[in-house]
């Protein structure tokens, strides 16, 4: 009995040693690159780094207040407006389309497998490839293709440089973003829908449910746990989504399409490329302010979805 207890103890001790050793790296990495980075981000937001000696700094609130003055405020106000517009449009067009596409694939309608592959294709191609193909096509080829229409029907002039330099650039950029947005979501939604028991669908059919009723009253509620993951995590996307601006326009995106995510990335990249550390705190301050807005917003949406969203049971 004593020998058995001893061997169990030895095995448990061995497991604990294995567990502890294997956990060292993940915990260390998490502490440095998640907790440490974010803590440093908050500290950085209050720093004023000496431009002549980067090791010297003082603490200040100016990094926060300067965002609400002069050209920085105009820049921030504009990018916030664009970001909100992007979020609403994606929510109103991208999400419903993604759900309907998933439903089509889940129902195994004609060419469903092919459509599934095609919807996923933009996700595996680099954004720089697809974005530039789209940009050059709309800028150079589309005007040439639409030119005969102009002659035949007397329509309005087809703008050259459609995506880059016309009054439609926001529309063009949004169209592209919605176009490439379906890959992962459709994959996840349709996989989740495929877990719905066929008996439930059959009983809905026996009750006389048509496709729309089946979609809204059976499929949507039973897939809602997956949909809500994307809806909740998507809220922070208001402040992080760059709408492929960097792939389309590099660091020269027109004002009409500059989002907060792009603004933060571009300012950080610029500061890093010329090794200007004193510019980092200004960006970090904006990041801290936006996180303070994003946290309650995300939890608010999560609360509302949990309370009012459809329940699987």
């Amino acid at each position: 009995m004593a020998i058995k207890k001893k061997s169990i103890f030895r095995a448990e001790r061995g497991s604990l040693i294995f567990y502890s050793l294997m956990m060292i790296w993940p915990i260390l990495q998490f502490c440095v690159f998640y907790i440490g980075v974010n803590f440093n981000s908050v500290l950085l937001a209050f720093k004023e780094i000496d431009p002549l000696d980067y090791s010297k700094y003082t603490y200040t609130f100016d990094n926060f207040t300067n965002w609400f003055k002069g050209s920085s405020w105009l820049e921030l106000k504009n990018s916030l407006g664009v970001s909100l517009k992007v979020y609403v449009i994606s929510l109103a067009i991208g999400v419903p389309l993604g759900l309907f596409f998933s439903y089509y694939i889940y129902k195994k309608m004609p060419l469903a497998t092919f459509y599934r592959v095609m919807l996923f294709l933009p996700s595996i191609l680099s954004s720089v490839v697809l974005a530039r193909l789209y940009q050059y096509f709309t800028d150079w080829a589309l005007p040439e293709l639409l030119a005969p229409l102009h002659i035949e029907y007397g329509t309005k002039d087809v703008p050259t440089l459609f995506a880059t330099n016309s009054e439609y650039k926001f529309v063009a950029v949004m169209a592209f973003n919605i176009f490439v947005s379906f890959g992962t979501t459709v994959l996840m939604y349709s996989n989740k829908m495929s877990t719905i028991s066929p008996e439930i669908i059959e009983s809905a059919h026996l009750d006389g449910a048509g496709a729309l009723t089946e979609f809204f009253y059976v499929v949507l509620p039973l897939s809602f746990s997956t949909i809500s993951v994307f809806l909740v995590t998507g809220v922070a996307g208001i402040f992080t989504n760059q709408i492929n601006n960097y792939a389309l326009f590099s660091f020269q995106a027109p004002t009409e399409v500059v989002t907060v995510g792009y603004l933060i990335y571009n300012k950080t990249r610029h500061a890093a490329s010329i090794n200007r550390m004193p510019d980092f705190p200004f960006v970090a301050a904006l990041a801290v302010m936006l996180t303070l807005v994003a946290v309650p917003l995300t939890y608010g949406v999560r609360f509302l979805l949990n309370k009012f969203g459809p329940k699987e049971d």
């Binding site: 567990y19 309608m109 595996i124 191609l125 990335y265």
Partner: protein
């Protein structure tokens, strides 16, 4: 956390009749596919045009008047001019090597850390396991915006900046959706296997490598593939963290920003096709694995 991962199994029931809704969806999807394929096809025919034909011949949308493949055409020219995209004059081979190291190394380390941490949390019921699981959920829901400036500063401080191995270390974390995928997989694995191995004298290390990991290898490969594709295509992070180790994606991005020899779109598109060819081959070989293996459920925490 409701059902997170299940192997995708095609259902065998009969195909249903099409309704008005599905007919409309079919039309929209058909248009989507035509636009996407047309875009790629247009890119391909543009690469096959002589730069002069595109720029001065005013043939931007049509088929090439003659297929420009003399001495390899735009593809070979792109490879020869590759070094001109970067100030360090990174050659095609160097950027290819950088891409392989950045994407394969980063993807492998990230997937391995996620897989191993998920295994430890799922199979060892210590308090730390619960804390780690909670941290993943919190990190997913808690939106932290724009910590890039701070991350660069930290990377510089630790000597990881502008080092490919440095990006591996930064990516060797367990956070993210795939941790949950692995966690669900290991949780649903019967304990009987590991208990039997323990009776036979196997230690925890060999139980993981010889029993648990082979059972999870399918999911591991899928996640590895997804991570590899994402890193291969990524140019924004390498642009920031690897200012002198240019990857292929970054060189392609730079080709569109460089003037002089690079102004002609047929040449620029040759760069994009060179970048996407390996990924398209991977996709054609592994599309079933990429498309069919993962589902996620709701996150409750």
């Amino acid at each position: 956390m409701a059902s997170i991962t299940k192997l995708f199994k095609p259902r065998n029931e009969k195909r249903e009749k099409m309704s008005l809704l599905t007919v409309i969806m079919c039309i929209i999807l058909a248009v989507y596919c035509i636009v996407l394929l047309a875009l790629i096809f247009w890119g391909l025919i543009t690469v096959l045009k002589h730069p002069e034909e595109f720029l001065n011949g005013h043939n931007r949308a049509g088929l090439p008047k003659y297929v420009f493949l003399d001495k390899g055409g735009n593809f070979v020219r792109a490879m020869k001019l590759w070094h001109k995209t970067t100030p360090e004059e990174t050659t095609f081979v160097e950027s290819l090597l950088n891409s392989i190291l950045y994407a394969a190394g980063g993807a492998f380390i990230n997937t391995l850390v996620q897989c191993l941490t998920a295994y430890l949390c799922a199979r060892y019921k210590y308090k730390l396991s619960k804390i780690v699981y909670g941290a993943v959920i919190v990190a997913m829901i808690l939106p932290i915006v724009g910590s890039l400036a701070s991350e660069i500063e930290m990377a510089k401080r630790f000597g990881l900046y502008d080092q490919i191995w440095g990006t591996w270390i930064m990516k060797a974390n367990f956070l993210g959706l795939y941790f949950l995928v692995f966690h669900e997989m290991f949780s649903s694995m019967p304990m009987a296997y590991s208990e039997a191995a323990k009776i036979d004298g196997a230690n925890d290390w060999s139980i993981f490598w010889k029993i648990a990991f082979p059972l999870a290898v399918n999911t591991f490969m899928t996640v590895l593939l997804i991570n590899f594709v994402a890193l291969w295509n990524d140019f924004q992070m390498s642009l920031v963290y690897l200012p002198t180790h240019h990857t292929m994606a970054e060189c392609v991005h730079r080709a569109f920003e460089t003037t002089g020899d690079f102004t002609a779109p047929p040449l620029r598109f040759a760069f994009t096709f060179i970048l996407m060819t390996p990924i398209l081959i991977l996709f054609l070989c592994f599309h079933k694995r990429l498309l069919g293996n993962l589902t996620i459920g709701g996150v409750k925490g």
